[in-house]
């Protein structure tokens, strides 16, 4: 009690600044803490090889999460991403094998990404059906179509050049990582610096208000879902190139949950209007680092889901407090 008269004004200022810092960057702070913890726990953690490994593992789901962030900020959700990834993967492989052209395969993947997103978006906006329901249906349908095309099994690619996409590097950095980082920057700009981004936030926060401000709500929503599954198309190319084949029953299984988890950990609000691409970026890194450190420490892979589950819930709990 040497100096009880701490200026209350300053105290209020400092604490309000701190709570602002926490509410804006809690996910970054959590990530740094996790990074320190992992570095102390294991010598092999902070090496270039391991870091590049983590990034490569999260790149596919990371790219999907970026699109999921946009959809969730708009107040929707897309449960179909995992199945659509497998479906597009199957189509990509078929086009690749039939034409022998890598470009044709990529074009097919991106086209189907846009097309499925268009279907999702039209049913949700024009048909006024809840996003959860529409994408749940599409999730079931896309998985089933994929299985049908491949007769329940896997399709391998016959063109070696296609495998180079995921298995070559630029300045020693694997291409999937470069694509992921590049898309993160692009999506960040899109959401913060363009009309489309501003409109997505407005719709997620107050759809009627957005409509009465002249925002083309239906069109923006359709574009958000198209963007999301377009990115699933990109992710699908990377995934099938990396593995050289697509298993229509297993590929992309439960990816939607990991993507949603990354978005939520990143601080995006479940029912829209609030969220950040950067948050999702760190959200997916947190999941990646967690998996990695548990593997390094030899924790049973069966138990890793528990840790993930706890982290998701704790993340939301911490964000609620502010």
């Amino acid at each position: 009690m040497a100096n009880p008269a701490v200026n209350p004004v300053n105290k209020g200022y400092v604490s309000s600044r701190l709570s602002w810092l926490w509410s804006e960057y809690s996910v970054v702070i959590a990530f740094v803490v996790l990074l320190l913890f992992a570095t102390i726990m294991h010598d092999g953690f902070l090496t270039y090889a391991n870091m590049s490994n983590i990034f490569r593992q999260v790149a596919v789901i990371g790219i999907i999460s970026l699109g999921m962030t946009v959809v969730m900020i708009s107040g929707g959700i897309d449960l179909s991403v995992g199945s659509v990834l497998a479906f597009i993967g199957a189509i990509t492989m078929i086009v690749l094998n039939d034409t022998g052209s890598v470009l044709a395969a990529i074009a097919a993947a991106l086209f189907f990404g846009l097309f499925i997103g268009f279907l999702n978006g039209v049913m949700i906006s024009k048909g006024k059906i809840a996003a959860f329901i529409v994408t749940l249906g599409v999730m079931a349908a896309a998985r089933s179509l994929g299985l049908y095309i491949a007769d329940g099994g896997s399709i391998s690619g016959d063109v070696d050049a296609f495998r180079l996409i995921s298995n070559s590097t630029l300045f020693n950095v694997p291409y999937p990582i470069i694509i992921f980082l590049l898309l993160t920057v692009l999506l960040h700009l899109l959401m913060n610096k363009t009309k489309f981004g501003r409109h997505v936030y407005a719709i997620g926060s107050n759809e009627k208000g957005a409509l009465l401000s002249g925002i083309p709500v239906d069109r923006v929503k359709i574009m958000a879902y198209m963007l999301c599954t377009f990115l699933v198309g990109v992710a699908s190319i990377i995934e099938s190139s990396r593995l050289g084949s697509v298993s229509t029953s297993n590929t992309g299984h439960l990816y939607e949950l990991d993507a949603i988890a990354a978005v939520i950990i990143g601080g995006t609000r479940m029912n829209g209007g609030k969220g950040k691409i950067i948050g999702t970026f760190f959200g997916i890194l947190i999941l990646g680092v967690l998996n990695n450190i548990m593997n390094l420490m030899g924790i049973s892979p069966y138990l890793q889901g528990v840790v993930k589950g706890v982290i998701i819930i704790v993340a939301v709990l911490l964000q609620k407090r502010t």
């Binding site: 200022y13 009309k195 501003r198 936030y201 407005a202 208000g209 409509l211 009465l212 925002i215």
Partner: protein, 503 residues
């Protein structure tokens, strides 16, 4: 032992460095309706939140029937007999009336709900209030005024001695308001005190017994309603003479900007045709249910347009399928119910200003925040928007300032025709007068302004011409000199019908 039921003395409260209440007194008698008055931001809500236990005062005392109270949480003040009916009603639509009344304190026998007892008690209270409602009705099926009644019933069930009502009449129709007033008087007769917060001075003069006025967090006066009038109270609230201000300026009226022909949607309105001319302020009024808001929401493309209808802007027919089309046709709409329809609550003040006119801030497809900032600065000065940092969420602002930001949004879009639906809803005298000035200024620039309102003094102040609606039809056209409370009422109630000749 003091004579007052409630005595608050020297209440002081500051948020970080901003002093909101600087030693305020409030004294309420038993069985009176006490008006708590002041402009937005005068500290009324803070004072009531302290009384309701939501906030804690930094200094000062609160006494009930002479006994000092320390309200630490909302439950404490409720227990002491104080109920707070907020502007946004706290009823749950998907429960019945009696379930709402007993929410959180359900009557049980042996762990099971005692439905019969709850229904009976609810019925008793409703009977006492003299309202014919079945306790088993779902609240979602009730009109707003009845939802208010459910809230009051809830307060009575808790045996409240003091009921705080914050702007209870903003979303009520005239008929519903008079019912509420009746109910308030009968509550008063049974010994309940009501603290009544409202911007509508007419109502205050009509129903209240005494008043207290706050200005900038200070107590500036109180007294008996019988000894005062609207002018004196306004003077107390604003701190300067403002009542006689002239808002109307004579200006040249040009040719038709907006022509609407044959609007009938089969539900809300029929045979609507009118012209709004350049430089004109055209009023629309009527009782609730007259269809005027629906009409203009349809013209603006928020609702589906009727097939045979025609809209002409500057003499050319336009097709409007959605609000975006309307804006491209140079029509803007400032909707009623700001909170639901106009503000984007997760966005900052500045982004709310720019959201409808983002095209003006783009360079190569990217939003230039510097342009946004300088534009906002211009509007802040022009409209006297009080905000310390434009990056704050819009919800930090008072109602009047929020409305100014919404107006700035439409000024930025810069349409030739501006429709304002209830533009001064829930905002204080000072901000109102600023908005009237702005409307005149826009008309002087040659825009066509359409104002939808039920406040007669407002219409008298600003309109060149007034169309009165009755059950979805235009019942009369009044020139500026003909606008009086009596003539409006005559036509709006359908007591007098004359052919409204258009063309």
């Amino acid at each position: 032992m003091s004579d007052y039921l409630l005595e608050m003395e020297g209440i002081y409260k500051a948020f970080s460095k901003v002093e909101v209440l600087k030693g305020v007194d409030l004294k309420v008698n038993k069985g009176e309706i006490h008006a708590l008055l002041g402009e937005n931001g005068a500290g009324k809500s803070t004072l009531m939140n302290i009384l309701g236990g939501v906030l804690r005062a930094d200094a000062g005392t609160t006494a009930l029937q002479g006994e000092k109270q320390a309200f630490l949480k909302p439950g404490d003040s409720k227990e002491a007999g104080i109920s707070f009916i907020h502007q946004e009603l706290n009823v749950i639509s998907d429960l019945t009336i009696y379930e709402n009344l007993y929410l959180g304190k359900e009557a049980t026998t042996k762990g099971l709900l005692n439905t019969r007892k709850m229904i009976k008690e609810t019925q008793n209270i409703l009977d006492k209030m003299d309202v014919a409602l079945d306790p088993k009705t779902y609240v979602r099926d009730l009109d707003t005024s009845y939802k208010q009644i459910v809230e009051i019933a809830k307060a009575l069930l808790e045996d409240s001695k003091i009921i705080i009502m914050d702007e209870p009449t903003t979303s009520l129709t005239d008929n519903e308001i008079s019912n509420l007033m009746k109910l308030m008087k009968s509550l008063k007769a049974s010994g309940v005190s009501i603290i009544y917060i409202s911007h509508k001075l007419k109502e205050v003069l009509h129903v209240c017994d005494r008043y207290s006025v706050l200005r900038n967090g200070e107590f500036v006066g109180s007294g008996s309603i019988r000894d005062t009038d609207e002018e004196q109270i306004t003077k107390l609230m604003v701190g300067k003479e403002l009542a006689k201000e002239e808002h109307y300026t004579k200006r040249p009226i040009g040719s038709s900007k907006l022509r609407v022909e044959n609007f009938s949607d089969g539900t809300y309105f029929r045979n609507i045709s009118f012209d709004a001319r350049a430089g004109e302020v055209l009023g629309f009024t009527g009782l609730s249910g007259d269809g005027r808001s629906e009409l203009f929401e349809t013209i603006f493309g928020f609702r589906k347009q009727p097939s045979r209808a025609r809209i002409m802007v500057n003499g050319k027919p336009v097709k409007i399928k959605n609000p975006g089309d309307a804006i491209r046709a140079k029509i803007g709409l400032v909707p009623k119910n700001r909170k639901e329809n106009a503000i984007i609550k997760d966005m900052s003040v500045m982004h709310n200003m720019s959201v409808a006119g983002l095209d003006h801030f783009l360079t190569f497809g990217f939003i230039q925040s510097r342009k946004e900032k300088s534009k906002f600065q211009a509007y802040r000065e022009k409209l006297n928007i009080k905000v310390s940092d434009p990056n704050y969420p819009i919800t930090n602002l008072s109602g009047g300032n929020q409305q100014k930001v919404v107006l700035a949004k439409w000024l930025e879009v810069n349409t030739d025709i501006i429709i304002l639906d209830n533009p001064t809803q829930g905002i204080d005298v000072g901000a109102k007068s600023e908005i009237y000035h702005l409307i005149q200024e826009l008309a002087e620039q040659g825009k066509a302004i359409i104002v939808l309102s039920t406040e007669v003094p407002e219409l008298q102040k600003i309109c060149d011409r007034l169309l009165v609606m009755y059950q979805g039809e235009i019942a009369a056209e009044l020139g500026r000199e003909e606008i009086t409370e009596e003539t409006i009422l005559l036509h709006a109630t359908g007591s007098k019908r004359e052919e409204y000749a258009y063309g």
